[in-house]
């Protein structure tokens, strides 16, 4: 029953991206483990990627796909740096809870 199947449109894609972004955002704001926060950031980035390709497809514009590739590259770099920091933090403090690192308060 092909006609009964929901044909995914622009709204569906954006909805999925919005949900993904919100999940990532909540993760960044609420979770205490630094690694999980980094993962949440990846989630947010990918949500943004999804909107880029969606709009690129619907507007028939290749820029959407191009910029997504850029974001993926930058995200990879960011993940590498971020994880390196996490590893050093853990080596030095034996701790991964973000609430432990509050030395910059006024």
């Amino acid at each position: 029953m092909l006609s009964d199947m929901i044909i995914p449109g622009l709204g569906h894609y954006l909805l999925v991206a919005g949900v993904l972004f919100t999940i990532g955002l909540v993760g960044v704001l609420m979770r205490k483990n630094i690694i999980v926060i980094l993962m949440s950031i990846e989630l947010m980035l990918n949500a943004v990627n999804l909107t880029f390709v969606t709009f690129g497809y619907y507007l028939n514009d290749a820029n959407g796909a191009v910029i997504t590739l850029f974001v993926i590259a930058v995200a990879a770099a960011e993940a590498a740096v971020g994880l390196a920091i996490v590893v050093t933090l853990f080596k030095n403090f034996n701790e991964l809870n973000i609430r432990f690192f509050e030395h910059l308060k006024g």
Partner: protein, 640 residues
């Protein structure tokens, strides 16, 4: 050549100032004296150069650089050497050199001679700025500079609180005058749009302005307030007697010969302006005459040798103002010059006495010093004859001219002459008393003190100044006298500065000569009697003096306490001022101004304390803030 006139004292100040800890009086003194000698020689060369110029071109201008330029207000760092300023320069550097020389001997036992000589040189530099400057602002710089040096030197022995406070008194009293002087400069600039002397001279109106409240009269009175402070006239004279706390050569240089005459110089320099304000000149003449009388009367009973000379200086300065106040600028300058010689001589002589008496200044503990100190005594006698106006000594010519002009000038009157005449009698009395108590009569010197004649570095300046005190008067022989003297000596000084004098006609009547000689005769006769009377009661019959002091106790007390002027000032002015200041401090300053500033600082601190809560260090909170900010930005961009 101008640099060798102006800069050596500054150089001496720097050299001695750098080595201010040196205890070597001789080396410091030689440095200071050589700079003075250089300046003096340059001054003489300039004098010769001026003499060679034609009479109407005797003015050399030197512009070093442009100092201030704001809109139409243009002040170049320019100097003028003309007949008037060269006379002052010669007096300053010449007498200054002699006093520097004297200081070497006088300060030989002092602990900080280098510091002393550096101050002295700085003073000369500022004094040269004052007299050579070609506009009022440079004059004002020198004016302030000499005030500073005067303060430093009065309080030179500042470990004695009395001497330190005498310095402060001089400085603060001068400050009042300086405020007046500044106001004078402002009004003159407002009036003429210039502060350069020759431009003021050409801009000044040639017809006198009779109105009391006219800007010209006001500006002259403001300038005269400045002169009152610097030249110790009523009511600002109180600092000068206290200024005797400084080393005696300082009293001779600053508080007798040079600095205190700055006010007289300023008025002579601005004579076209002052001639346009007859009311201001009347005030000057009366203030001068009354100062001459009052200071002379105080001088009669003082027992401190330097205090007598100090009041005598105030009194003689009064004469100079009397002269310029009646329009006799030449006579004022003549008296300025002769006074610089004989008063510097007497101050140095008193310094020699004080040095010999081991810092004793009370004349009641002296007496009979003429045998132990012959050079000091005989030079002092020359000064004494000069100041009381003995015939053909220098003071005779200048004082006679002033008294005659006070009577004869269109701006003078009989009352001015009479006040000056009485002051002359008193001068003869107190100076003879000083001579009698110090040098003549029976010795009252304590047995442990052995007075001795001073070394040659001290006696040579005395001899040179004595020579000048005797003969300088022949440079300024008054017109009336010269017509009867053999050879008709000319009034060199008056002719020399004539190109700078504005036209001021003094009428000559047929009976003038008779009148002048009869007034002179009366003055001379009574001055002689007054001196003889003083000689009689202080040398021949000392008990008479004591009996007189007792029988006229109220008058004696009044004079001894200097009319209680210091007490009146401290009650009427200083006391209320302190009270008002106290109220302003405790009420206005603490309760209002401090409270407002504290409130502002508290506000800043409290708001900062509140805001620092935001910076918790919690990274996730920061992320939330970013989110909130993003939300509002988007909301704003989307058009709400």
């Amino acid at each position: 050549m101008f640099y060798t006139l102006l800069l050596p004292p500054l150089l001496g100040f720097l050299v001695n100032g750098v080595r201010f800890k040196s205890k070597n009086a001789k080396l410091s003194g030689v440095i200071a004296c050589s700079t003075m000698a250089l300046s003096f020689i340059s001054a003489i060369l300039f004098f010769i150069k001026l003499m060679q110029l034609p009479v109407d071109q005797r003015s050399i201008s030197i512009q070093l650089f442009n100092w201030i330029k704001v809109g139409s207000f243009d002040v170049p760092m320019a100097f003028t050497i003309d007949p008037l300023s060269i006379v002052m320069t010669l007096i300053i550097t010449g007498v200054g050199f002699l006093i520097h020389l004297f200081s070497i001997g006088y300060m030989s036992h002092d602990e900080r001679p280098a510091k002393y000589f550096s101050y002295l040189n700085l003073f000369i530099f500022n004094m040269l700025l004052l007299v050579l400057g070609s506009n009022l602002l440079i004059m004002f710089v020198g004016w302030e500079g000499v005030g500073l040096c005067s303060y430093l030197l009065i309080g030179f022995w500042f470990t004695d609180p009395e001497k330190a406070s005498a310095g402060m008194k001089a400085f603060i009293t001068n400050r009042i005058g300086d405020a007046g002087f500044l106001l004078g400069i402002f009004t003159i600039f407002g009036l003429f749009g210039t502060i350069t002397f020759d431009e003021i001279a050409s801009a000044a109106p040639t017809t006198p302005v009779e109105l009391w409240t006219s800007p010209i009269t006001l500006s002259c009175l403001f300038l005269f307030i400045g002169a009152m402070g610097k030249s110790a006239q009523i009511p600002l004279y109180v600092w000068l007697p206290d200024a005797m706390a400084g080393p005696t050569p300082v009293s001779a240089l600053i508080h007798a010969a040079t600095m205190v005459t700055a006010g007289v110089y300023m008025i002579i320099r601005l004579n076209p302006l002052f001639l346009a304000a007859p009311n201001a000149m009347l005030v000057i003449a009366f203030v001068g005459a009354i100062t001459a009388l009052m200071a002379a009367s105080i001088g009669i009973v003082q027992t401190d040798i330097k205090k007598v000379l100090a009041y005598s200086t105030v009194s003689q300065l009064g004469y100079m103002f009397l002269a310029v106040g009646v329009g006799a600028f030449g006579a004022g300058l003549a008296h300025l010059m002769t006074h610089a010689f004989f008063k510097a001589l007497m101050f140095l002589g008193s310094g020699s006495v004080i040095h010999a008496m081991h810092e004793e200044q009370d004349m009641r503990k002296m007496g009979g010093l003429k045998n132990q100190m012959p050079i000091t005594h005989w030079t002092f006698v020359m000064g004494w004859l000069a100041i009381i106006g003995a015939p053909f000594f220098s003071g005779f010519f200048s004082k006679d001219e002033i008294l005659w002009m006070a009577y004869h000038s269109p701006r003078g009157n009989f009352l001015l002459w009479f006040i000056g005449f009485v002051a002359a009698l008193m001068t003869a009395f107190y100076m003879t008393r000083l001579m009698a108590l110090t040098f003549w009569g029976k010795s009252r010197v304590p047995s442990e003190v052995h007075p001795h004649e001073s070394p040659s570095s001290m006696s040579v300046p005395l001899i040179v100044l004595a020579f000048l005190s005797v003969f300088a008067g022949w440079l300024c022989v008054p017109h009336g006298l010269s017509s009867v003297l053999p050879g008709h000596p000319k009034n060199f000084l008056s002719d020399w500065v004539r190109p700078l004098m504005a036209d001021f006609h003094i009428p000559h009547g047929p009976n003038d000569l008779m009148l002048e000689f009869s007034l002179m005769g009366i003055t001379l006769a009574l001055v002689g009697l007054s001196a003889l009377f003083a000689f009689y009661i202080y040398v021949l019959k000392p008990e008479v003096a004591e009996r007189n002091a007792k029988s006229m106790k109220p008058v004696y007390e009044l004079l001894l306490n200097k009319y209680w002027v210091d007490e009146i000032y401290s009650k009427m002015l200083i006391g209320p001022l302190i009270k008002i200041s106290r109220v302003l401090w405790s009420k206005v300053d603490i309760k209002i101004i401090d409270k407002v500033t504290y409130a502002i600082s508290d506000m800043v601190r409290n708001s900062g304390g509140g805001l620092k809560m935001v910076q918790s260090g919690n990274l996730q909170m920061y992320a939330l803030y970013i989110l909130i900010g993003l939300f509002f930005s988007l909301w704003f961009l989307m058009g709400r």
